[in-house]
Amino acid sequence: MTSRQQGARALPRALTRPLTRVLPLTPALVLLLLFLAGPIAYCVYIAFTDLQLTGQAHSSFVGLANFRRAFRDEAFVNAVWLTLVFTVVSSLIGQNTLGLALAGLMRRASKPVRTLTGGIVVTAWVLPEVVAGFLLYAFFRREGTLNAILDWLHLPRQNWLFTLPILAVSFANVWRGTAFSMLVYSAALDEIPGEITEAAEVDGAGGWRRLWHVTLPMIRRSIATNLMLNTLQTLSVFGLIWVMTRGGPGDRSQTLPLFMYEQAFQNSMIGYGTAVALLLLLVGSLFSAVYLRLLKTEVQ
């Protein structure tokens, strides 16, 4: 009874509240529902149909056929494998380690060197994706800069984009994405109190031991969030690889986003392409959920 009375008294306020509280949210909510949640729901739906690009009036429901087909499809397995290589080499190892190394060196370096290096690395990050793709294409091509340097050092040259395309695009992604890790780790290292490292130094811990036993444990949360975000970023790279190799030669640098695109548009199988997209989205959601958990534990 009392609760109902309270409810009745709260009614006028409950009516005016939506105006100030919900109304401002509406434009954003409408956009998000129509153009983000909508396509994701549609993605879930057409992944189970045989929708094709052209000459088809109706598509029909085919259940799990697209997914069964994917796991039997050698090209799909190849794309999964290449995505894994691309992610591990460029994000987990490349961007992450190099970013940490640069951030660590910057703490000791002189100011002009620090500013110069930071500026160059960040510029690579700010450049539009396609421009970065072209610059690295020029760098790795047979007539490009990398081979010119190798010649100068009397080392054997390679046609990088042909012999090791997945490594070339991975290095391109390192070039483009390291700045993010560098900034994250610079911020994290700045938060370590100086006394702690000094104490470890006085106790006679050498550089590597200090890194392993003092520094890394103290920034482990930043490492985790950085790895998460790098991985998510790397999973959705399309333009960089498209510009450099188009996924080729053959399908030797065809990661999942490029495979998805090829199935949907070059082979006009939207249904199949979307099933691949859904799998990519699921992997992404998984990483995103882990990222959320990490943030939550950090906040609490």
Binding site: P24, L36, I120, A148, G239, L281, S288
Partner: protein, 275 residues
């Protein structure tokens, strides 16, 4: 001790300079090639200085139209993103509600979803609702894809504006919208600038979204039209490609420098990483 510190600094400097040189090579290529009359794919001292590459590409077809298209698309989508994000952030930052937390967590979750994955269904959807190959459609999708991050950043910046300042306005009878526009947003000017510049820079560089959603060549933004330097025209004119890259990249680099100067280097990450 001081000597050890000096030698450490020299070692760190040397290490960083090597890294800087490696990172700089591709950038040096584009800077040298754009003024080189005989540019090729490797870094080399230009065979003479020319502005010919720029002269050739500064035509409506090659440069002005794509840049204008980029400006319309990214400008429109950025305006939409910032207005929607500011409005949405206000109740999230100002009022307590049981729904805030789940909503914010959903937003944060959406922030890191790989948008690339949904481009095929978005294409299929846009064909159905006749939004394919339209600026409106592309702008709306751009804005929606940027919104989660923008709302999240905006809310964090808004939390930094003390509520007391608004309460005075409320007692004077100002509405929530008035206090948002007149008091909160001006006080968080740098925050709004960050969200604006960040949204704009990300969309300006985005290739896949316009590549999928726009079809007519005359509607293509620079991120897609740059592809025409390859393939379609036979021999690639690398000098022109470099010149175009420089013109296309300059606005976002300037914008970034402008904001980074104002707010310190780690600015963009405050909201994104620390949550």
């Amino acid at each position: 001790m001081p000597r050890q510190r000096t030698s450490r600094r020299l070692a760190a400097d040397a290490g960083l300079l090597v890294a800087a040189a490696a990172f700089a090579l591709p950038l040096v290529w584009v800077l040298l090639s754009c003024v080189d009359p005989h540019a090729n794919l490797r870094v080399k001292i230009p065979d003479g200085l020319t502005l010919g590459n720029f002269d050739t590409i500064l035509t409506p077809d090659i440069t002005y139209t794509p840049l204008l298209n980029s400006l319309i698309l990214c400008g429109g989508a950025t305006a939409l993103t910032v207005v929607c994000a500011a409005l949405a952030a206000y109740p999230l930052s100002r009022f307590r509600s049981r729904l805030n937390r789940p909503f914010l967590l959903t937003i944060l979750f959406a922030t890191s979803l790989p948008i690339t994955a949904i481009m095929v269904p978005v294409y299929a959807l846009f064909v159905r609702v006749n939004l394919i190959d339209t600026f409106q459609g592309t702008i709306l999708f751009f804005a929606a894809s940027q919104l989660p991050f923008a709302i999240w950043l905006m809310k964090n910046f808004m939390d930094g504006v003390p509520k007391e300042l608004e309460e005075a306005a409320w007692t004077d009878g100002a509405s929530a919208l008035q206090s948002l526009v007149r008091i909160v947003l001006p006080l968080m000017g740098p925050g709004v600038a960050v969200v604006t510049v960040f949204s704009f820079v990300l969309m300006w560089g985005n290739f896949f979204v316009p590549f999928m959603l726009l079809l007519s060549p005359d509607q293509m933004p620079a991120s897609v039209s740059i592809n025409d330097f390859f393939g379609n025209r036979g021999m690639v004119a690398y000098g022109q490609l470099a010149a175009f890259s420089v013109i296309y990249s300059t606005p976002v680099i300037l914008l970034y420098v402008l904001v980074a100067r104002k707010l310190g280097s780690g600015f963009a990450l405050g909201g994104a990483v620390k949550g």
